[in-house]
């Protein structure tokens, strides 16, 4: 299974998830469609297409949820002749990702849902803490500016 990611902390939980849930493909992406990690895809074009489509499906389902239930749906399942997919949102507090899982008769929706819950917990635990940045401008910015200008023009 080929696993690639742009966030290193995602790889181990995703690899474990794919193995335990016996999934064929898994894709972790930002709701905008940007890929975060993928497992099982062999061609880059497939990943991009899958990301765009998954983001679109998620946006549609979320909006439908808001219309009929007042809040976004956070799980979606589709069944095909041989393959099925599960689309779920991963809430990490600071960010929300979408996980697309494709599986076949080797697994089941129950197993995927169960291990997806574990994946969400593991990702939440592994996610780096958001950096708390100070104010863009220093609190005494004006005083510092005046001091520096004075030094620059020889008035200090």
């Amino acid at each position: 299974m080929i696993i690639a990611s742009v966030e290193a902390w995602v790889e181990a939980p995703l690899a474990r998830y794919v193995e335990e849930a016996r999934a064929r493909l898994a894709l972790l992406l930002h709701p905008s469609g940007q890929v975060v990690a993928q497992a099982g895809f062999t061609r880059a074009v497939d990943v991009m297409t899958a990301c765009a489509l998954a983001a679109a499906v998620n946006a549609t389902a979320s909006e439908l949820g808001r219309q009929v239930d007042g809040k976004a749906f956070h799980g979606l399942f589709h069944s095909g002749a041989e393959k099925q997919f599960h689309l779920g949102s991963v809430d990490l507090g600071a960010a929300t990702y979408i996980c697309l899982t494709v599986f076949d008769g080797e697994s089941s929706l129950g197993l995927v849902r169960m291990y997806f819950g574990d994946l969400c917990r593991e990702l939440k635990a592994a996610a780096p803490q958001p950096v708390t940045r100070g104010p863009a401008l220093g609190l005494d910015f004006e005083r510092d500016l005046n001091k520096n200008l004075a030094a620059l023009f020889g008035r200090a």
Binding site: S107, S108, L109, G110, L111, R113, M114
Partner: protein, 116 residues
């Protein structure tokens, strides 16, 4: 507490001494159709794993030309899992190690007959 048409089936199994939980599960999906669980038990997890186990046992029996699986029993240190199925539905029983498996088996096979 179960209120579906499977309630009677589950009640007859849960009445057996040592039975901790009984569930009717879709074998293909691993999702609970109905269940009699105690407070705090994670039925979803049991259902998914038991359905996967039963499906693999069924496929193995088929591959070995042994025919259909009638009854599946898993003994572990802290409990037992018994499974029997018909069509896409399976009945999963989680029992204590000291439970009388003979009685559970009889009740389970009787219950499976009523599934359809």
């Amino acid at each position: 507490m179960s209120t579906s048409s499977f309630a009677t089936v589950l009640a007859s199994i849960s009445r057996q001494r040592g039975v901790r939980a009984s569930l009717i599960v879709s074998e293909s999906d691993g999702l609970i159709v109905d269940a009699a669980l105690r407070f705090g038990q994670d039925g979803d997890r049991v259902a998914a794993l038991a359905a996967s186990l039963y499906r693999k046992a069924r496929l193995s029996a088929g591959a070995a030309w042994l025919g259909d699986v009638a009854f599946l029993q898993l003994d572990a240190d802290r409990g037992r899992i018994c499974v029997a199925g018909r069509g896409d539905l399976i009945i999963v029983v989680v029992a204590e190690p000291a439970a009388n498996v003979g009685l559970i088996r009889v009740e389970l096979l009787k219950a499976v007959e009523s599934l359809e």
